[in-house]
């Protein structure tokens, strides 16, 4: 069976700006694929091209078997789409919003009523069905927006920064829901710049300045960077940072509470290096190594890119 999303050399230009440059990847069925990158990296632009609402300037993309440039309307019938703005009609009630989106996605009257009732129950919104959507809290709005985007049970779901501005508890609940949806066989593509969210994805694509830098599982992308992280206690955090910054083996130094967090590349032991450099100056106390995370991998990748100047 063909992958639900196949992207080959996709590009998008806005005037002089190359927003997306020669991006290629596949997303497998039932997978949660995270697109990670800073603002303006081209994540949303890529997503919009995959939804068939923005024409690619080059390359091609096939979504649920349809070419996004040639058959955008067929693509639209088979996808759900949710953005950080939630796109709810704030002056309609919860149930009216659901009915509306059910109708927009062509559900017939009887089927629609049954589906709306079912989804209200499943998402725990039944008690709030008559509440005006604008009066819901951020977390509930997000939940409703997700139900609206999936009311037609699409095989593919696009989420564009779906947790922006939502409290941590709601974010966790949201991600639990996303995993549930994926477990039922729906493919999910999500953009985010929260690194903790990135770690909840099955696979990640790192975007930076319009290019796709790396792709793989969170573990893979972290391991590929060969990063080691140490947390070092020192009486003079600022002095230690000044001293460590600029050393060729050290990729990143930052204050971390009363400690200094430093990252090395190429297998250099960060604790040994720190002891060596700090012993004479600011002094060094307890030091321990911690495993690198996706954020470290991302920062390392951006540094590599900036050093080589490889991105157009």
């Amino acid at each position: 069976m063909q992958d639900p999303v196949v992207v080959e050399g996709l590009s998008r230009r806005f005037g002089q700006l190359l927003a997306v440059h020669n991006v290629s990847f596949e997303v497998h069925r039932g997978e949660i694929f995270g697109m990670l990158g800073p603002n303006g990296a081209g994540k949303s632009t890529t997503l919009r091209m995959l939804c068939g609402i923005l024409d690619p300037s080059g390359g091609r993309a096939t979504v649920v078997g349809f070419d996004v440039a040639k058959e955008p309307e067929r693509v639209k019938q088979n996808i759900g789409y949710m953005t950080q703005r939630f796109s709810l009609y704030e002056d309609l009630t919860v149930e009216e919003n659901l009915r509306f989106y059910g109708g927009v996605y062509g559900l017939q009257r009887r089927e629609r009523s049954a589906r709306v009732a079912e989804e209200l129950e499943r998402s725990g919104l039944t008690d709030r069905r008559d509440q005006i959507s604008g009066t819901l809290s951020g977390g509930w709005k997000q939940r409703l927006a997700l139900v609206c985007a999936t009311i037609h049970r699409p095989p593919l779901l696009f989420l564009d920064e779906p947790t922006a501005g939502v409290d941590p508890v709601s974010r966790r609940e949201f991600w639990a829901r996303i995993h549930h949806i994926a477990a039922e066989g729906t493919t999910v593509i999500v953009t985010t710049h929260y690194m903790d969210e990135a770690e909840r994805c099955h696979r990640l694509g790192f975007m930076f300045r319009g290019a796709l830098l790396d792709i793989g599982t969170p573990t893979e992308v972290v391991e590929r960077r060969e990063i080691r992280i140490a947390l070092v206690l020192t009486p003079n955090v600022t002095g230690a940072i000044d001293l460590l910054r600029g050393h060729p083996a050290i990729d990143e130094v930052a204050p971390f509470g009363d400690r200094v967090r430093l990252a090395t590349r190429g297998g250099v032991d960060p604790i040994v290096l720190a002891r060596e450099l700090l012993a004479t100056g600011p002094g060094i106390g307890d030091a321990r190594e911690i495993p690198p995370n996706v954020e470290d991998a991302f920062v390392a990748m951006v540094h590599d890119e900036e050093r080589s100047g490889g991105v157009p």
Partner: protein
């Protein structure tokens, strides 16, 4: 204080639309008021019902035309045909010459001409009758002098030979309310319909729901018609309200067929809604949509014939006004409510309205593509 003024100026400079309006509005207003608005009616379309067909009657018609106030657009053979001409707005004035007019004049006996005037536009009535009356008395004097010279007879009486009897049809009391209220239906519909729809899409754009609709399988046609339908009903409600209150409070008659009026109104309302959708495709915010609607309303009020006689405008202003749905609707609603005009008599207005509707709908849906860029 200066910091605020400075910031305000910067913002104003960046907001091209507002800036454009600030400059554009005075210029457009100036041109419209100064150039297009003229309450002196000239070239009033006139038909002649000549039952005499004599040199004297033709001479009178020629002299009428020579004043520049009347433009003879045709000849008719009955009062019924005068009615048709007035209801279809082919003419606003009709001159009726009685049989044996020349013979009576020749004999020095008083003869009476009749001027039938469309009272649905009081401003036209005044210009039209005054000029005709003075023409009649001028000709009477000339005839009197001729008779004196030819026959050596002194003018027997002081009474003039040719009398002009003005008759006003359709609004005999020349009440302003009767003239204004039906027109107001058109103005209010233009204002609210354009504003409602232009804001409706801009609101969706602002809230981000438009993007959600664009990624849905809804077709542009479905979206356009779905957006228009509820407002069409709202338009009918407004129209009914104005007509009912107008008839109760201001005693404005509805002479013609109500189904015909409502049927033709559908074209007008839909055309305005399509125009609103077009505006909304240009506007990025609700505020801009609102500004555009107001900007559009001004020429409608001034050029459509709602306040100032259309006939009095210079040709470029009239051509421009033909592109406004309100100009045609003004004729439809006044024609039906005040004169009882039939569909056949209003056929050209129908063709215009339908044509404008098609053009506006095509433009609106071309602008609204299901893409983001």
């Amino acid at each position: 204080m200066f910091a605020i003024a400075w910031k305000e100026l910067i913002q104003l400079r960046r907001d091209r639309l507002t800036l454009g309006m600030m400059v554009g509005l005075p210029v457009v207003q100036l041109l419209l008021f100064g150039y297009a608005i003229n309450t002196d009616v000239r070239n009033i379309a006139t038909v002649v019902y000549d039952q005499d067909r004599s040199a004297e009657s033709r001479g009178f018609v020629r002299r009428m035309e020579a004043t520049g106030f009347y433009e003879i657009v045709g000849h008719v053979d009955s009062y019924d045909q005068i009615g048709v001409a007035l209801r279809s707005r082919e003419a606003m004035v009709a001159l009726v010459v009685p049989p044996h007019f020349a013979a009576e004049v020749e004999a020095g006996r008083p003869a009476q001409l009749q001027l039938v005037v469309d009272g649905s536009d009081p401003q036209v009535v005044a210009s039209a009758t005054d000029t005709a009356m003075s023409l009649a008395s001028a000709r009477s004097s000339v005839l009197a002098v001729e008779r004196f010279e030819r026959q050596g007879l002194p003018t027997s009486t002081s009474s003039q030979v040719i009398a002009m009897e003005p008759t006003t049809w359709y609004n005999p009391d020349l009440r302003t309310a009767v003239f204004i209220v039906p027109g107001l239906v058109g103005v209010i519909l233009t204002m609210t319909m354009v504003m409602f729809t232009s804001m409706a899409i801009a609101r969706e754009r602002e809230r981000g729901t438009l993007e959600q609709l664009i990624v849905s399988p809804v077709r542009p046609v479905e979206l356009t018609i779905g957006k228009i339908l509820p407002y069409l009903a709202a338009g009918y409600l407004q129209m009914t309200l104005i007509l009912v209150v107008g008839s109760w409070v201001f005693d404005v008659p509805i002479v013609g067929s109500i189904p015909l009026l409502y049927g033709l109104s559908a074209f007008f309302i839909a055309a305005n809604l399509a125009l609103g959708l077009f505006f909304s495709s240009l506007a990025k915010t609700q505020q801009q949509a609102m500004q555009m609607s107001f900007f559009f309303l001004l020429p409608n009020i001034l050029l459509s014939g709602f306040m100032f006689p259309w006939e009095a405008m210079p040709a470029p202003a009239r051509w421009l006004s033909l592109g406004l749905p309100l100009t045609h609707y003004m004729r439809v609603i006044r024609g039906v409510t005040l004169k009882g005009a039939s569909l056949f008599e209003l056929r050209y207005e129908l063709i215009w309205l339908a044509g404008l509707l098609v053009v506006l709908t095509v433009i609106a849906s071309m602008r609204f593509r299901k893409k983001l860029d």
